[in-house]
Symmetry: C2
Subunit: 321 residues, 2 copies
């Protein structure tokens, strides 16, 4: 089979990966290969898009010219490129990997070196948006890596980022991941802070619709007020970006800060909050679920009842970051 | 002298009070009385607006129908209504006091009772905006008190809040102060968090103009990013809302939280940061000066040199909250 630059593979087809694949498929690309440890997810998406379900990572690299990886964490990101038994680099000469997971800058650097040794190229493409944006190709995409690699896969990146309007080449390998870590750090601080403000308002008996309106008109305004404020009040924690992810992502900048000998008390308090959320068994909820820790009379026990009552379909609305 | 509802007095003519008086004077009100412990400030403003400089608080109440108080803290707010030697209530029958300071809800309640006993009325009018908005009459104004009092002084309030577009009657006495406390709590958390994000970006060698642009497009976006982000980078801490005020205001919601038995870790970490800022001798800087604690190689010693170099005129730009 002769591959073209339109032939794309996907490793990791969870909420984000699957919707990116759907959008690329609609805009002239061919999804030739799909891999996911969750075989059902891989099978379903492959059937939908006419792709091959791969049983090995090596097979993905055989079947696609450009491979997008959308995995969950640093460990998974390293594993798919270096696992002895099976990895993406067994026969990857000339392939380009676009790595979309939020992982530490150092992980991107390791992956870049592994790819180079295998005659392949890699680019980090950090996404500062969520599921709806993945589905509609309007991701804010921050890239890190060599410019020639960026230019090579630019059509793919542009298709995902509103015709390139939301596409940025931040710098060399690891740079985009640094920026992404900072974005999530500030976002998570603002989220944890908002959950405290609304919780205290509720405890004081204030009308929370009024309070959110006042916040939106004043120095308390923020993007997370728009995306998460109402959900915190309504306890609607349908997952767009999980508390577990927030806990993981909050740790990355603190590791960077340590190497720079900086103390970041707000970031530390935020990490502790999201870790508490995970420890309370609420890690699978959306990050808005942090409000379960701050509102009086809330928490896992009270949420269970609510969850049973609420059997809604999967969310279709936007909750962009 | 026969007083009309157009005759206004001002107690406290610092940056906020003086500019509110200027705007009201321009829009058809008469500033008849001005009082400030800083006699020079009172004299200058009175000269400008053709008002009388009062040497006692009792005199202010004699010379004005409606008196706006714009003092610095809870102690001052209570003092002007209850100091034995001299206060606003000595002969205040029929007068209305509009209290604009950011103080604890309980302070407004005490003042309201004192006024009632003296045959006067009071209204809290909490301002969620800054100096430029005071000057142009575009303050976001949150009021608490009895509706009949609110209606009585509505023309004054409307003149200050973009023809009433930014005017809200939040609820009874103390309610607006609660909302204001929450606004400042969330604003200060976002400010302290932003200072950490930019500081880490700087330490990593990232281009901070790029970083601010990315923040503005993502979940890290906030009002304080717009009002304080660039100032943090440029170390331009011309004071609109001081670090000392932020420290004071950050304490109010924590007192409320304690009575409600709520734990607010982010608000606590933020209070500690602004207290550190004050302890470092930086309390007179704008709240953006919190960045002096987080950026590497900054702090009071390095700032002194910079301050000497920068001898600019008073700021004229907007830094609305």
């Amino acid at each position: 089979m002769r591959l073209t630059s339109k032939d794309l593979g996907f490793v990791g087809v969870g909420r984000m990966g699957a919707n990116m694949a759907r959008h690329l498929s609609e805009t002239g690309f061919r999804i030739t290969a799909v891999f996911d440890p969750n075989a059902d997810a891989a099978q379903a998406l492959a059937g939908e898009l006419g792709a091959r379900v791969c049983t090995s990572l090596a097979e993905v690299s055989r079947l696609a010219q450009t491979i997008l990886t959308v995995v969950t964490d640093d460990k998974a990101q390293l594993q798919i490129f270096s696992n002895r038994k099976d990895n993406l680099l067994k026969a990857a000469q000339g392939r380009t990997f676009i790595n979309c997971a939020t992982v530490a800058p150092a992980t991107h650097e390791k992956v870049a070196k592994l790819c180079e040794s295998a005659g392949a190229a890699s680019l980090e493409a950090c996404m500062a948006s969520s599921i709806t944006q993945a589905r509609t190709g309007t991701l804010y995409l921050m890239c890190g890596g060599e410019k020639r690699v960026f230019l090579k896969v630019r059509p793919v990146l542009e298709a995902l980022s509103d015709h390139g309007k939301l596409l940025r080449l931040i710098g060399g390998t690891g740079r985009a991941a640094q920026v992404k870590a900072l974005v999530n750090m500030v976002m998570n601080i603002n989220t944890a802070g908002l959950a405290e403000g609304l919780a205290l308002g509720e405890a004081l008996g204030l009308d929370l619709t009024m309070l959110r309106e006042v916040f939106s008109q004043t120095g308390a305004a923020s993007r997370v007020l728009v995306t998460d404020g109402e959900d915190m009040v309504n306890r609607d924690h349908s997952c767009f970006f999980s508390g577990a992810h927030a806990a993981k992502d909050s740790a990355i900048p603190l590791t960077l800060a340590k190497t720079q000998k900086l103390r970041l008390p707000l970031a530390e308090a935020t990490l502790a909050q999201f870790q508490r959320m995970v420890a309370a068994g609420l890690g699978a909820l959306d990050k808005s679920g942090i409000a379960e820790l701050t509102f009086r009379g809330r928490g896992p026990a009270t949420l269970k009842t609510k969850r049973k009552a609420a059997t809604r379909p999967a969310p279709a609305r936007s909750k962009g970051r």
